[in-house]
């Protein structure tokens, strides 16, 4: 049996295949490039806000959510939020607070380009304390080699961030709308500070 396909369709076949091939490449490249070219991703939005807020670094409380005044889309209005935007080129970062074991506190560590490399809640606090050090691979190595020999093992959790820039988003749950103030006070008690590596 012979397929009866006119020659001019067969002539077009390579061009159709080429079109689909290029379409495939364009699709894959555009999806992969999107995180690095998207102008208004979460890091960009938060960086803009933090720069306009009074302290340029450390922990910055986000305004209470209201229609038209949301910092980020798809956030729960029951949360009070604070952010710590960092650049590890200036040094490692320490996030520290104590928790009361009753109220929900969530910490998520975001690299640039939309990846969360660590997340936790107050449930995983150690002895009522959250003490997290964020650094790049070199900084974490330096801290580990400084530990050797002396002193008790560190109580802190050390995270290696995949990118130099990123942010820590801290969410404090207000069980009722009237608890917002309390939830915000819990956020104010958190410190997020850059520190210097030990010498040596």
């Amino acid at each position: 049996m012979r397929l009866n396909i006119p020659d001019r369709y067969l002539d077009l076949a390579p061009w159709v295949i080429a079109t689909l091939f290029i379409a495939g490449i364009v699709h894959v490249v555009s999806v992969l490039l999107m995180p690095s070219v998207a102008p208004r991703d979460a890091l960009a939005r938060l960086t803009t806000y933090v720069k306009s807020a009074a302290p340029a670094e450390g922990l910055v409380l986000l305004p209470q959510m209201a229609p038209g005044a949301e910092m980020l889309p798809f956030e729960d209005p029951a949360l009070a939020e604070a952010v710590c935007v960092y650049d590890l080129a200036k040094g490692p970062l320490r996030v520290k607070t104590s928790v009361d074991g009753e109220d929900y506190l969530g910490l998520s560590f975001h690299a640039s380009a939309g990846r969360i490399y660590h997340s936790m809640t107050d449930r995983s606090a150690i002895k009522g304390k959250i003490d997290i050090v964020v650094g790049d691979a070199r900084q974490i190595d330096a801290l580990a080699s400084a530990d050797e020999g002396d002193a008790p093992p560190p109580q802190e959790v050390r995270l290696t961030a995949p990118t130099k820039r990123g942010f820590v988003l801290i969410r404090s749950f207000a069980k009722r709308p009237s608890d917002q103030e309390r939830a915000r006070n819990r956020l104010s008690a958190i410190t997020c500070q850059r520190f210097d590596l030990p010498q040596g």
């Binding site: 995180p35 949301e70 889309p73 209005p77 029951a78 997340s119 809640t121 449930r123 709308p177």
Partner: protein, 211 residues
Amino acid sequence: MAPLTASYVSGGSASLDLKPYANYLRAGSVMIAGLIIGLLVTVLSLNAGYGFNSLRAGPWTAWPHTGAADIDPYARAVVARSGEAPLGRDQGLAFIARTDSNGAPLNADCEYRIVDPLPSARYWTIALASPDGRLLANSAERYGYSSVDVLRKEDGDFEIDVAREARPGNWLSPGEARDFVVMLRFYDTSLDIDSSPDPNSFPKIVKLGCA
């Protein structure tokens, strides 16, 4: 005159003139068509959700992998474009409903009732949002309920009415918006994200009627 006429006749139609360039033209249109199709597929796939590995339970859908380091490239592209910061996987889980329990798209001209049950979690919240994730302005300035402040019946069950006009009991209003979505968020949940959840353990969104 005679030779001129002859050359005019032989080169008379445009296709003959372009014949040496036909392959270049085809290559050009292949490039342009490929570019357009490729970008179109990107836009369509990014509008379809947050990539692979979604959890579905009745009208509710969650993408737990958006909250972890193994997020897939499609989800990363969607998250970067919308500017959201997803909930971390170890913090909780956020479900979104764009339809009612019968699969009909949610319409702010209609009234809905969200009813028990709910899977176990330390806290949960149910809130309305616009399809692009903004809060909906409404006269009550109430955007959601939590497991703590929702009013319960004597047996512990609850109902939340979604309507433009005020309702007794738990009431959420989409305000003047035309479309809305319902967000269901769990904080510190033991829900297993590797197996598909039981739809019967999730709240129903029942349409009561339309204006």
